[in-house]
């Protein structure tokens, strides 16, 4: 057993600390106003050790983000040395190079004192309702994307920094909501602090030093054991995506396994481009580690120890390691692709443990805005998902996001908010890549403008020309596309006017298939045909090599 803790004490203490992070998450979730926090789980909370390593990460939210807060905290510690922190402090930033990768995400780190000594930090990140600036993938520099707050004190010794707040709130569209959400987040940090102190009081521990080492050591060992079990070598893969205008995104990835360590190197990938599809190294780190952990060691509770055995590197100035003042608002268009490249590389070593490319890597989002019959502005975000990639055991999940986990809202709720009509939201037949296990189906969502004036439709997506690829002989999923009234094509990174009475149909991509389609079980294929997931023609041509099914 590890250090001075036995198997029972460690289990109890570890679970208590996870519960601390989860209670902070519950606080954030129930008090946050931003629908993006609730609907697309865009938040994270964690407890960190005094060195800024995560110790317990919340179970919900975006799994990749909690781990990132360690990088944020360590950055803060360079600006504000350890002995400069006081009880009641809370430091904030939304700098994409320090936090979770774009301006709308605000990160907060606050110190936890016990008996007068700094023993830990609480961390949180959440998507705010608005950060000023202009939206969309066409921005060129970060300055267009909103206000950027460097690491500053939101609270100092329990007193709110109202100067900072006034400046901040003066630059966003919904200052009341913003203030509410900032306070909600600070409260989540406070709950984390209070519960940690309760824990220390209950257990009689002076600090978390030994416990952190024991817990992080266990997670690290589990990850190293999983890596060591794989054959050493360098496994390479590359994926391509539409990118922006005439700049397709190329992700080259070399996964090196050497003993109990792993390196993912993105050398050879596209350079950063002049648009908002670039991402910062923080975001790259998060969206590389998460898919790796799911494959190697899905069940051990995540913390800093889980990340130590894996290093993620990319040349400075690459699209996944963009430098200032690059725009990064649509960073997921690059970041979500990393999971595909990593899995294609790992398919050479552990083909039974990975997924084929997911249609929703990257996710496609649409926002519809306009003016209703009373002359009031409205805006609705469409959350809908493409198909997931298949695995060696199962078909890909249809209309389900990966690597994010953003859900779909209610169409009735959207229709109640704005004068739009949903005329279709159904599975796209034959959109799942053929395979022994079929890729998940994408969907088509068709929306009609019910007003007498044009509406603005903003789409940010990819996979118009680059489908989600299959693995082990599986076929690619269908590409994404959008059309107005069945004829006029709409690019997937664009703002378009939708005329009164017109309909826009957005077709979400399908996931890649896994394995030789000829090996698909007759029962599964017949079921797909009966349910219209696969057409009779595709069943014949794609699955049975043109012979009768």
């Amino acid at each position: 057993m590890t250090g001075k803790y036995d198997a029972i004490t460690l289990e109890i203490f570890w679970s208590r600390l996870i519960a601390v992070a989860d209670e902070a998450a519950t606080t954030l979730l129930r008090t946050a106003f931003s629908p993006i926090v609730r609907e697309s789980n865009d938040f994270a909370t964690c407890l960190l050790d005094v060195h800024g390593g995560t110790l317990a990460e919340c179970s919900g939210g975006i799994p990749a983000f909690a781990g990132l807060l360690g990088r944020t905290a360590r950055h803060f510690l360079r600006t504000f040395p350890i002995d400069s922190w006081s009880e009641g402090d809370c430091v904030i930033t939304n700098d994409p190079w320090i936090g979770t990768g774009h301006l709308p995400d605000v990160a907060m780190i606050a110190p936890i004192f016990h008996r007068g000594r700094l023993v830990a930090f609480s961390g949180s990140a959440a998507h705010t309702p608005d950060i000023g600036g202009s939206l969309g993938a066409q921005n060129k520099e970060i300055y267009e994307e909103g206000i950027c707050i460097p690491p500053m004190h939101f609270y100092r010794g329990g007193v709110r920094n109202d100067d900072l707040l006034r400046l901040f709130l003066n630059n966003v569209r919904f200052p009341d909501l913003m203030l509410g959400d900032l306070e909600a987040q600070a409260t989540a940090n406070e709950v984390c602090r209070r519960r940690t102190v309760d824990f220390l009081d209950d257990t009689g521990l002076d600090d978390l030093g030994d416990l952190a080492a024991a817990i992080q050591g266990m997670s690290e060992r589990a990850m190293r054991d999983a890596i060591r079990a794989l054959p050493d070598g360098v496994y390479r893969a590359a994926v391509d995506a539409d990118g922006f205008d005439d700049h397709p995104t190329h992700i080259a990835c070399a996964v090196t396994i050497a003993g109990d360590g792993m390196t993912v190197d993105y050398a050879g990938s596209s350079k950063q481009n002049g648009r908002a599809t670039n991402c910062t190294m923080n975001y790259t780190q998060a969206y590389s580690i998460y898919p790796i952990k799911c494959v190697l060691d899905p069940h051990t509770r995540r913390n800093e120890g889980s990340y130590r055995p894996v290093s993620i590197v990319a040349p400075e100035g690459a699209v996944m390691n963009a430098v200032r003042p690059s725009a990064v608002a649509a960073r997921h268009l690059t970041g979500h692709l990393l999971s595909c490249a990593i899995y294609q590389a790992l398919a050479q070593v552990v083909p039974d443990r990975i997924l084929a490319d997911s249609g929703g890597a990257p996710a496609l989002r649409a926002r519809i805005g306009g003016v209703n019959s009373e002359g009031e502005r409205f805006s609705a975000i469409l959350f809908a998902s493409a198909g997931m990639g298949a695995s060696s055991r199962f078909d890909g999940l249809s209309t389900t996001a990966f690597p994010t986990n953003s859900g779909a809202g209610s169409l009735e709720a959207l229709e109640a908010v704005g004068p739009i009509l949903f005329t279709r939201k159904e599975y796209r037949q034959d959109s799942g890549g053929a395979g022994e296990f079929r890729g998940g189906l994408g969907q088509v969502v068709e929306i009609e403008n019910l007003t007498t004036q044009p509406m603005q439709v903003m789409i940010i997506g990819d996979r118009e020309r680059h489908p989600a690829l299959g693995v082990a002989g599986g076929k690619p999923g269908a590409c994404a596309y959008a059309r107005i009234d069945g004829v006029t094509p709409v690019r997937l990174k664009s703002r378009t006017a939708l005329a009164p009475g017109s309909r826009i149909a957005i077709n979400f991509a399908g996931g890649g298939g896994y394995g030789d389609p000829c090996k698909r079980s007759a029962l599964a294929l017949a079921d797909d045909v009966r349910n219209g997931m696969v057409s009779e023609r595709a069943a014949r041509e794609d699955y049975r090599g043109g012979t009768a099914a």
Binding site: A7, D176, G180, T300, A384, S398, T400, K425, N531
Partner: protein, 695 residues
Amino acid sequence: MNTRRTARIGVDIGGTFTDFVFHDEARGITRTGKRLTTPSEPSRAIIEGIERLLSETGSEAAQIHSIVHGTTLITNTVLERTGGKVGLIANAGLTDTLEMGRETRYDVDDLFQRAVPVIVPRYLRRGVAGRMLADGSEREPLDEEALLKEVAFLVDEGIEALAICFMNAYRNPSHERRAEQLVRERFPELLLSVSSSVAPELREYERTNTACVNAYVQPRVHGYLDRLTADLESLGFVGDLSIMLSGGGLTTIEEAKNFPVRLIESGPAAGAMAAAHIARQIGEDHLISFDMGGTTAKMCLIEHGQPHVKHDFEAGRLERFKQGSGLPLKVTVIDMIEIGAGGGSIANVDALGLMKVGPRSASSVPGPVCYGRGGQEPTVTDADLLLGYLNPAFFLGGEMTLQLDAVRDAFERKLVAPLSIDVETAARGVQEIVNESMAAATRMHLAEKGKDPRDYAMLAFGGAGPVHAYGLARLLKVRKLIVPMGAGVISAFGFLVAAPAVDDARGYLAPIGRVDWDQVEALFREMEEKATALLSSVGAGDGAIRFERQADMRYVGQGFEITVPLPNGSLSVDMAPQIQSAFDEEYRRLFDRVVRGVPIEAVNWRLAASVPAQSISLVHAPIDAPAERPAREVYFPGAGRVLARVFDRYALRPGDVIAGPAVFEERESSFAVGPEGSVTVDDQSNLVVSISYPN
């Protein structure tokens, strides 16, 4: 022979046992019973059980005033996916709503999770033209011809029940009503579930799902309830038969047949109703009810004598304790948290070398090792035995002798050897881990409501509840603990104290400043008339019915609602300021703040109609025997093994005061209190424990 109808019977059909409670206040008789459930023909166990109770109490069927019934039939049908073949009629182009669901993964770490199985396969989901808009206006008329053609197709496919759900039907149900009428005329035998009747609320996925689950369980429920009614009649029963709703109220057989989905949590609701009854009796306004059985522990908050309810429930989970792996329903249920921690929960060592307890359970078959029925893996109950909480010679009142040697052996093999610790340490670990996970779940449940467990008393029941109550209370820093008599069977008493009730709702989304109040009044009047008719049919006088009006409200732009009590009296534009302040108050109570400058809107309008709860007295006459048994050593965290006095609960008298450490043994359970607790026996035979903490 006295044939006054004074006896009341509660029947709880569970997965393994069907439990009975017979109570005749006039004759001073209370009796419980148990039969093995007869899954293929559930009414058989009921009839046999009732016959036996009648003969044991020297009663006749004609003396039964009422039978109240709770069942897990519906929840199990959904869980096991053994319902009928169902078809769905929906809007053309939108028939996949049911299968797409919320489009989320319920376990973000598991790349191999399965899709939640849909209960109406795609080829049985048919679209027809016709569309309502969000404001209730008609965009496109219903294509009646296509409707009948599609239903004919489904009937040919052999469906047993049909669900109908159209977009915005919560706002204007006329397409659904017309479709219902046409289908009834053409296919009079077909069972029908229409979304605007089953759950007329905003959000098409949840509403469709609720209508489909209703249709899915309907064929079985009809068969079962028809049979039960006939069997009871032939037994000579002439009283009222009612069924417990998921929200803890009672309803009629007719209503249960129309809306069986509302019975989905019928069984678990009884325990909460019993706890609420005790809370009222002892005048405890802030209570955590803690019910721990063989497989799970359930916690729920009871405030001012009423259990918290909520209006969403997830049924039929693929993985029982993973939220998001099931079918979300729009039904009113008791708001409880259930976790995989029970007496049968199995302890093991995980891949990292840490000890884990549950959620896997040895259940009742084979059960814990100490039962001697073939269980090989150490469980929570086995640990409790090793630590002195259970009396090996007095389990189930002495009917079963617990196997201590076999338990030691199992602990040696499964925990002691892999962890290099001794049996005592392992047993303490099992108990501490299970108590910690229950404490964590309770804290989280309260945190979601912005509450602190320290402000609550705790009521413990269920077979394992009293055993773990003291440890759990200490972890939560609860100062007052109540352990009622008959902890193992108390749930069934919930059937006897429940009263008829109706929970209804109508969706109508509008900012408070723009609500058409005449319309809201009309919605409430319609709901009140329906509720009055139903409650009167079960004997409630007009004046006895209590109406509570509520609205699900939110800030404009927010994605979730809170349920806000509305002011009494007719609603009109003049009431808007009062409604705003009711919202502010509730929002602040839940989230400690309000947001200024953002308008609020109502989404659903709710009516809760009820008649006053029944009261029964369960005063227990102490038996005339020495209360104290030989003392034994019991382990308490913090105190270690200490010598505890042991008492026969049935021999204790009201007013007795006993300082811990002590153990109180009764037939179905055992309660152990540590050195920091002091126990008083109250006049209802409850053990009331006050726990002291340093500083």
